[in-house]
């Protein structure tokens, strides 16, 4: 019994079932009469008649859903299980009430653009202003969007898979699929109430097919999401805004005359900001405040048992020999260094690698007996120092805890180890399919005390309900360490996060922990800073992982190794100083050309 309001219907003649009367010079009253026809139908047929209680319930439902005023943000009352942050609410409110539902959401990374878009979408759905909705995102984010909209917002969004999926009301698709036939025609022939485009900075070049496709879409409301609206070129900004509100910055020639000195240099910034404020919102991270909880990092030094130490030393010797044999060829040696790291993790991990290595070497190779010697040494090891310490820690905290390891074999070992002690631990790894990952998450949330994960990356593992984590071993890539911490220490975490690094004394592990902890101060960095540090570090001479391997293999003895590590460490701390004080010879990455600070609020979310 509601109208379908389309651009055609709004201007076309009204049908028979609807009468139109003038209420005001500007406004017509349209009365739908379908109810009356149906009532008469039922009278002539003598029924069927509906139930009086259901009649009342239908009325009560409508009364509850009624939209009382233009101004409120009604979606909030139907989202009881989740509380958006104040800047997200005020952004949604501004888009709906001041911008007419067409906006560029340009918050800095991590402030929740998806949430803001979800709020706007929900608001329009609740108000009955949007039914047909299209959400275009990069292919890798399709499922994440679908899950988020369904779980957080209770919106039945559907991932586009087959041609018939386009018939659903809320469809999430990748733009690369949507722009191709046969989808293209279906999409372009639909009037969408709302279109959301994520990662919209990919649309800045108007010669691309993506841009041209986006420009052809028919839409009422439209949201473009991007963290970097203008990075290289003023024209990009103009193109993006033309998708949304053509003419907001004048025609192309006006724009060039009024706002552009050079491709990369704007002029009349005040007027430009004024014009932008009608279409763009950008919230930034603040410089203070403590919305993020604290991180406590504790390194736990462990001494290897005699057998373990013996294994470590012989593996180290073995690796060095091979390196000298190869004559300093680094690339083939990286996998050998892994052996050393694996010894620090568990005998199972190193065993697996050795066996594989054994299989690969020729039968008459002199290496075979050497490898076998190592395997023999493994057999002597009866206990795992680290696992016992981990168990002690877990029992002590008596709370949910996530244990990260780099190696599948270690993961398996730990699962068994905890099971033998009657503690419930569940695994999590990259190879699991979506459903199994979800299941493991649910088990961890519900019953298990321990989650043992080999993978931190990838979407969908949000563990705010857990605030203890143990790094059973550390990856050499600092970004992966940050990813691990980011699973737990993120928006929504209400407790201080406690991080334990298990670190075996007198092994490379000690050096790595020292480097990451003391020199980069990795565990206490602000989100985003690590990117800068690594980017600048790697401009020099290969990735950190490679450099570490090189140092390790080339150093003759422990003292030499210590010196070289110190050298590496000090160059890292120097870069860190530069990044943090902003004292950079030249900016590492192009910053935004136009200062957009006045287009939003500063959000205090620093750890």
């Amino acid at each position: 019994m509601t109208f379908q309001t389309t651009p055609q219907a709004a201007s076309a003649e009204v049908g028979q079932a609807i009468t139109s009367r003038k209420l005001h010079p500007l406004v017509d009253l349209q009365c739908d009469r379908t109810w009356f026809e149906e009532l008469q139908n039922r009278q002539t047929r003598g029924g069927p008649w509906d139930d009086w209680t259901l009649y009342q319930l239908a009325m009560e439902a409508e009364q509850a859903k009624r939209i009382e005023s233009f101004e409120q943000l009604l979606c909030l009352r139907s989202l009881p299980s989740f509380e958006p942050m104040p800047h997200q609410i005020s952004t949604a409110r501004k888009v709906v009430h001041e911008m007419g539902g067409r906006a560029i959401l340009a918050d800095e990374v991590g402030l929740g653009k998806t949430i803001e878009a979800g709020l706007v979408l929900k608001e329009y759905i609740v108000r009955g202003l949007a039914r047909r909705v299209l959400i275009l995102v990069p292919a890798s984010l399709v499922l994440q969007w679908v899950r988020e909209l369904n779980q957080k917002f209770g919106i039945s969004a559907v991932a586009q898979k087959k041609a018939h999926t386009w018939g659903y009301d809320v469809v999430v698709a990748s733009i690369d699929t949507a722009k191709r036939e046969p989808h293209r025609e279906l999409v372009l022939n639909t009037d969408y109430d709302l279109i959301i485009i994520d990662e919209a900075h990919k649309l800045k070049n108007k010669k691309t097919t993506n841009y041209q496709f986006a420009n052809l879409l028919r839409k009422k409301y439209c949201l473009l999401l991007t963290a970097t609206p203008i990075q290289n070129d003023m024209d990009e900004l103009f193109n993006l805004i033309t998708l949304l509100k053509p003419g907001q910055l004048g025609g192309l020639s006006d724009f060039a005359a009024n706002f552009v000195v050079d491709k990369r240099v704007p002029k009349n910034e005040d007027q430009l900001q004024e014009a932008l404020s009608g279409v763009m919102i950008r919230n930034r991270r603040g410089d203070g405040g403590i919305h993020f909880t604290k991180r406590f990092v504790k390194n736990i030094p462990l001494t290897l048992s005699e057998d373990e130490k013996a294994l470590y030393d012989s593996v180290t010797g073995f690796v060095k020999e091979r390196y000298e044999e190869s004559g300093g060829d680094l690339t083939s040696m990286l996998s050998l260094v892994t052996l050393q790291r694996e010894v620090c993790s568990s005998r199972d991990a190193v065993f697996l690698t050795l066996v594989n290595l054994f299989k690969k070497t020729a039968e008459d190779s002199p290496m075979r007996p050497r490898i076998w010697e190592l395997v023999e040494k493994i057999k002597n090891i009866k206990a795992n120092t680290k696992a016992e310490k981990a168990m002690e820690l877990v029992k002590e905290m008596n709370d949910k805890v996530i244990i990260f390891t780099e190696y599948r074999a270690t993961q398996e070992y730990l699962l068994q180890f905890f099971r033998a002690q009657n503690m419930i631990a569940v695994p999590y790894r990259g190879g699991m399919n979506r459903g199994k990952k979800d299941w493991m998450m649910d088990l961890f949330r519900g019953r298990a005390q321990i989650l043992i994960a080999t993978e931190a990356g990838g979407e969908g593992i949000n563990l705010q309900f857990c605030h203890h984590m143990i790094n059973f071993d550390l990856p050499w890539n600092p970004m992966r360490v940050e990813q691990r911490i980011g699973r737990v220490h993120r928006l929504g975490q209400t407790e201080d996060v406690k991080i334990y690094n298990l670190c075996t004394v007198g092994t490379i592990e000690e050096h790595i922990v020292n480097l990451l902890h003391e020199k980069i101060n990795l565990f206490e960095l602000v989100i985003g800073e690590l990117d800068h540090i690594l980017e600048r570090f790697e401009k020099g001479d290969g990735s950190l992982e490679q450099r570490l391997a090189k140092v390790l293999l080339e150093s003759g003895n422990d003292i030499d190794l210590k010196q070289k590590m110190n050298h590496l460490g000090s160059s890292l701390s120097r870069i860190r100083e530069e990044v943090i004080t902003g004292d950079q010879p030249q900016p590492a990455s192009p910053d935004l050309i136009v200062n957009l600070d006045s287009l939003g609020q500063t959000v205090e979310v620093q750890p």
Binding site: F3, P7, H24, R33, L54, K245
Partner: protein, 320 residues
């Protein structure tokens, strides 16, 4: 709607659709749906078309509807704790039972803890905004749209030969939407006496004060209709129109102003573009121009629409 209101709503729906409530507390219902409610709520069209075709006895679903999540979860947790304490007190008995179950499991395959337990009881949290509750809303509306009712006489007439006069009313609950790029709604309830043409507002509230029944009561007679249904319809629409005319339309004025402004802005962009376009491109650009204009009208054009939530014929005592 708060938790209590949701609870009451669900209760009344389940009763009205003759579902069998297996268990309930102020925070939840465990309910085996009636065939009618199952059709509306479980989204199983294939199953139901199968049942209809082969005339099979339908097996309806059982749900756990939780109307107050927090309290329900707290209560469940307390129960588990109680059970844990009890089982700690009687471990021997339990161990025996567990062993028996395990043995059964070995010989019979998987056995449910309790054989009488229903197969699967999916849980739905019902809160305002939850999808299942929206389905309940829609289900109520689907089967609560058109009614034909009589007022039950207050007291039995002592004299079986006297007859009470009744009047037929056309009652309708209207939702009026005021929309541009934003929207607000009002609900108006009208009743028109088919005898006299008198139009009453807040008619729905008046109906709630009476007891209504679908059956024709004894010893009544219905006054002859003085006006046609079509006449009644136009009385409703005219009354609504008169009422709405007196409203403040500054919202529409500002929406129109925004619309004009936006149209102007678009023209400012496209007109020079059209002018300088090559002959080949011109139609495409003009088409896009027209498309943008119609989008903007669609977005901003102020409009008021009235549609019925539900309606019916009501026979009430008296002649008005």
């Amino acid at each position: 709607m708060n938790e209590k209101q949701v609870h009451k709503f669900v209760n009344r729906y389940l009763e009205a659709t003759e579902c069998s409530i297996l268990e309930k507390s102020p925070n939840h219902f465990t309910v085996k749906l009636s065939p009618h409610a199952d059709r509306e709520l479980t989204n199983r069209p294939y199953y139901w078309s199968f049942v209809d075709r082969v005339n099979a006895e339908p097996e309806t679903m059982t749900f756990l509807f939780v109307t107050d999540k927090n309290k329900y979860d707290a209560a469940e947790e307390a129960k588990i704790n109680d059970a844990a304490i009890k089982s700690a007190q009687a471990p021997a008995e339990n161990a025996q039972e567990a062993a028996a179950n395990a043995a059964l499991g070995r010989s019979l395959g998987f056995v449910h803890g309790n054989l009488a337990a229903p197969a699967r009881v999916p849980r739905e949290d019902l809160f305002f905004g939850a999808r299942k509750l929206d389905m309940l809303f829609d289900a109520a509306k689907a089967k609560g749209s058109y009614v034909y009712l009589f007022q039950e006489p207050d007291k039995r007439s002592t004299n079986p030969f006297s007859s009470t006069p009744y009047t037929a009313w056309l009652g309708v609950n209207m939702r009026v939407e005021f929309a541009c790029d934003r929207k607000r709604e009002e609900i108006h309830c009208f009743g028109v006496s088919l005898a006299t043409g008198q139009c009453v507002e807040l008619f729905y509230d008046r109906l709630l004060t009476h007891k209504l029944t679908p059956r024709l009561p004894a010893n009544i007679h219905i006054t002859k209709n003085g006006i046609s249904y079509n006449k009644a319809l136009s009385i409703v629409e005219q009354t609504l129109e008169r009422k709405l005319r007196a409203y403040d339309y500054s919202w529409a004025e500002s929406a129109s102003a925004r619309l004009e402004e936006e149209l102007e802005r678009i023209s400012g962009y496209y007109e020079p573009l059209v002018e300088h376009a090559l002959a080949d491109n011109k139609p495409a650009i003009q088409e896009q121009f027209a498309q943008r204009q119609s989008e903007i009208r669609w977005q901003y054009e102020p409009r008021v629409t009235a549609s019925a939530i539900n309606c019916g014929i009501f026979h009430l005592e008296g002649i008005d």
